[in-house]
């Protein structure tokens, strides 16, 4: 029923999340919906060789938090300070 996509980190960890959650990122959205027969749009798998596992995990958590926020449930999203620099750069890359 629910469409899912797989995000793969630099270390090879695979994160399977809802398609709707992944679409929060503009970059992933255009990867998955771009016409042109790219493997990402066909298989629903995106690899990120520059993003580490901990950061990618946090990003997935952010996706779900963002969906929750726009549905009305406004909570706080905590970020560990050690992660912040890398997270910011990844977020910048992912347009999220």
């Amino acid at each position: 029923m629910k469409e899912t996509v797989k995000l793969i980190s630099a270390e090879g960890f695979e994160f399977v999340i809802d398609r709707e959650a992944a679409m929060v990122s503009q970059t992933i959205r255009s990867m998955l919906t771009s016409p042109g027969g790219f493997s990402e749009s066909k298989d629903g798998v995106v690899t990120f060789p520059d993003i580490s596992t901990t950061v990618l995990e946090k990003i997935c958590q952010y996706f779900y938090w963002s969906l929750q926020y726009s549905r009305g449930k406004e909570t706080e999203f905590h970020i560990e300070p050690e992660l912040t620099l890398e997270l910011m750069m990844a977020a910048n890359y992912l347009h999220t």
Binding site: I59, Y62, W65, S66, Y69, S70, R71, G72, E74, F77, I79, P81, T84, L85, L87, M88, M89, A91, N92, L94, T96
Partner: protein, 752 residues
């Protein structure tokens, strides 16, 4: 409230009377106020028990004012048709009564010595006092506005000094509206005021015209004895007429909703007033002290020699207005009473709009700002993120040497610190002396006055002749300790500078500009010299002409910018000019705008905020000359609604940002024009434009499809009907009540 003033004969230009509150009058700018000779008059006291509205009008020189007592205590307030209450104020002394009511004694001023009977001058003072509560007897002095309407009667003896102006100026007669308190016993009337006032808001500018009309019409008609202080002269018929009429007017207003037989009479008065109003409106044009003659003559020419698009548009709009006026008739006098031709119903469904979650980038930046000291390296962070981080740190004043050091480390390409006021000389020297600046393209150290005297430069920025080889953009605004020598040292180390920002560098003189034109004359594209007080503009003109590629010139806050200077520069270099910032250049007139329109066809950004002398003709010139304008800033210019509408219709095809801040007369014509012709408009500033009600704003917002930001600071007339009811999903509204706006201060169309 107690005001004691003595006045003299206006034999020459004098400054305005003291104790005047700082509110600009609605009449055009004038610096001179006719003074009145103090005469040893009897002071009649207001009888506490009887208060009556009292408006005295000294219509003619021959007539005298009678010394009558104000018998009524409800003279204190004259309520106008618009619902405002005009406070009477005597021009002499007030006597406070025991029970706290202010009793004013009214004294009329004499123009000349008492011996010269035919040349008496009377002065009246109109104070417009907003009585917000409507119930308080004491009026709030904060809202007082002095309104002086001088009636045009020349008086030979008195105008001896004014004759050099070549025209008969200065009337010795003015209209005085005297404050009057509302009768405490008439609670019915008071309630009416409260309702009216609350309904009609706090617009004060329009009161002027109604006052004139009412005064005039009253003066002509009624015959009643007015209380005025006068010396040995016989009763002034005109004044008594006025008093009588004024009382009637007051009563009429008081009983406006009663719709008595007064209405037809007031209608009649109004017609008479309109005919005579022009005679009485006084405009003193003696403002300039040492202006160019060319500035004056330029403004008087016609905008166009042939019926061009702008004047055609103006004519169409004016005809439309007149037709509407004729149709509605003269019974609706003020703009606000006129029904706006815009039909707009709120149709938005705002409660359903979901709130967008903050982006992860923003959240991370916030955490970084809080923990800035824990950052160990900024090495692989892209420039855009570094800049954003610096910006946020400076905004929250958490920027410190630690982060600055991180920025400077390595071989940075961009260093942008918008606020260096925390940086000391030692820290600056320490950080920069080992900095590898070979790749530096952008250096922004704004507000660096504290850390940048001349002597640190040789060890930091100007260590060697090729210290800054790639530097293209340098911003040292606020470098108040930097002198010509220091700037020369920097520039000699950076030969490729294309943009230099020297705002508020108060020690720099014209020799800096000469130096810049010698070393950077062939490459410099942007020059910002706002508020460089020591620069003599006459001297830098020839240096400015040497910049071959100059595209951006910013001369804000330099009050000495004159038409001649500007024209000299524009004829030489206007063709390449893209941005021209002339904020606060108060001496410019329409002829300068004509020069701009003729010489700068490629102008994209034009800032004319606070250039108050411009008239509608300036808009005509701009419409005909500058066709590529994308950003246009007006503030406090006195353009008419029709002119702005005509401008928008003819010339706003490429406009992305328009500011009509405090251009108070804009109204429904502008709204219609904006809605129809501004499809590229992204940012619109209509702050303080109170003639734009909800339906006008809604009409604009729903029809300007690209509109993203609407600024309506000070627009007290806006209600939720517009805020919640418009249907533009991308629109951000700034300036309402207590909504936060600090995050959006820097919004320009390049940021969106």
């Amino acid at each position: 409230m107690t005001i004691l003033r003595s006045r003299e004969i206006p034999t020459n230009q004098t400054k305005p009377l003291p104790n005047q509150p700082d509110i600009e009058p609605s009449t055009p700018a004038r610096t001179q106020e006719p003074n009145v000779h103090n005469s040893p008059d009897e002071i009649t006291l207001v009888d506490e028990s009887s208060r009556r509205r009292c408006l005295c009008l000294n219509g003619l020189t021959e007539k005298e004012v009678s010394g009558e007592k104000v018998s009524n205590s409800d003279d204190k307030f004259l309520s106008l048709r618009s619902g405002k209450r005009v406070a009477k104020r005597t021009v002499d002394c007030y006597v406070e009564s025991d029970d706290g009511f202010k009793i004013e004694s009214f004294e009329s001023e004499l123009g000349l010595n008492s011996g010269n009977e035919s040349k008496r001058k009377k002065v009246c003072v109109v104070d417009l006092v907003e009585d917000k509560s409507g119930a308080s007897e004491d009026f709030d002095g904060d809202n007082k506005i002095d309104l002086r309407l001088s009636l045009g009667r020349s008086c030979d003896g008195m105008l001896a000094d004014n004759k050099n102006k070549g025209k008969e100026v200065v009337e010795d007669l003015e209209v005085i509206c005297v404050e009057s308190y509302e009768k405490p016993s008439s609670s019915m009337g008071r309630k009416k005021y409260t309702r009216e006032e609350k309904g009609k808001g706090i617009q004060v500018e329009e009161v002027c015209a109604p006052i004139v009309n009412e005064i005039v019409e009253d003066a002509v008609e009624e015959m009643e004895v007015e209380k005025l202080i006068e010396n040995e002269k016989p009763p002034d018929v005109a004044v008594t007429e006025v008093v009588e009429a004024e009382v009637n007017v007051g009563q009429t207003q008081n009983q406006n909703s009663n719709g008595s037989g007064n209405s037809s009479r007031t209608q009649h008065f109004r017609d008479i007033a309109k005919k005579n109003a022009l005679k009485f409106a006084y405009f003193d044009a003696q403002i300039e002290d040492e202006d160019d003659l060319s500035d004056k003559e330029g403004g008087e020419q016609n905008v166009e020699d042939w019926p061009g698009p702008f004047s055609t548009a103006m004519k169409i709009i004016k005809d439309r207005e007149e037709n509407v006026n004729l149709f509605i008739g003269s019974s609706l006098f003020t703009n606000r009473n006129r029904k706006s031709p815009i039909n707009w119903v709120p149709s938005g469904n705002f409660s359903a709009a979901p709130r967008k979650a903050p982006s992860l980038k923003e959240l991370s930046l916030r955490v970084l700002v809080k923990n800035a000291d824990a950052i160990t390296s900024l090495d692989y962070i892209p420039d855009a993120l570094r800049i954003k981080l610096c910006q946020l740190l400076c905004d929250s004043r958490r920027m410190n040497v630690h982060v600055f050091d991180l920025l400077v480390r390595g071989s940075p390409t961009e260093i942008r610190v918008p606020d260096c006021s925390w940086l000391t000389e030692e820290e600056f020297t320490e950080c920069f002396k080992n900095c590898d600046t070979s790749n530096l393209t952008v250096l922004q150290l704004d507000h660096c006055g504290r850390c940048m005297p001349d002597y640190v430069l040789h060890s930091t920025l100007a260590r060697s002749p090729k210290q800054l080889p790639m530097l293209s953009s340098l911003s040292l605004s606020g470098a108040c300790r930097l002198s010509d020598v220091g700037l020369q040292a920097i520039v000699s180390a950076a030969p490729e500078i294309t943009s230099i920002n020297l705002n508020q560098c108060s020690l720099l003189t014209s020799s800096s500009i000469y130096m810049l034109s010698d070393s950077l004359g062939s490459v410099l594209r942007e020059l910002y010299i706002n508020e460089c007080q020591n620069m003599d503009l006459k001297l830098i003109l020839s240096a400015l002409k040497k910049f071959e590629k100059l595209e951006v010139l910013s001369l804000a806050d330099l009050p000495s910018v004159r038409g001649r200077f500007l024209r000299g520069f524009l004829t030489a270099r206007g063709k390449g000019l893209k941005q021209l910032i002339l904020t606060n250049s108060e001496k410019l007139t329409d002829s300068s705008i004509k020069g701009i329109s003729e010489n700068c066809p490629n102008l994209i950004v034009l800032d004319l905020a606070n250039v108050c002398k411009l008239t509608d003709a300036a808009l005509g010139y701009l419409a005909n000359g500058c066709h590529s304008l994308e950003k246009l800033i007006f503030c406090r210019n006195s353009f008419s609604d029709e002119a702005v509408a005509a401008f928008v219709e003819t010339a706003s095809g490429s406009l992305k940002e328009l500011s009509l801040n405090n251009v108070k007369k804009v109204s429904h014509n502008t709204a219609l024009a904006l809605a129809k012709h501004s499809d590229k408009l992204q940012i619109l500033d209509l702050s303080w434009c109170r003639d734009m009600p909800d339906n006008s704003l809604g009409y604009i917002v729903d029809n300007c499809s690209s509109l993203k930001v609407l600024k309506i600071f000070g627009c007290t007339q806006v209600t939720d009907a517009f805020v919640k009811g418009h249907s533009n999903p991308n629109l951000k509204i700034l300036g309402l009540k207590m909504d936060p706006f600090l995050n959006n201060l820097r919004k320009s169309f390049t940021d969106l």
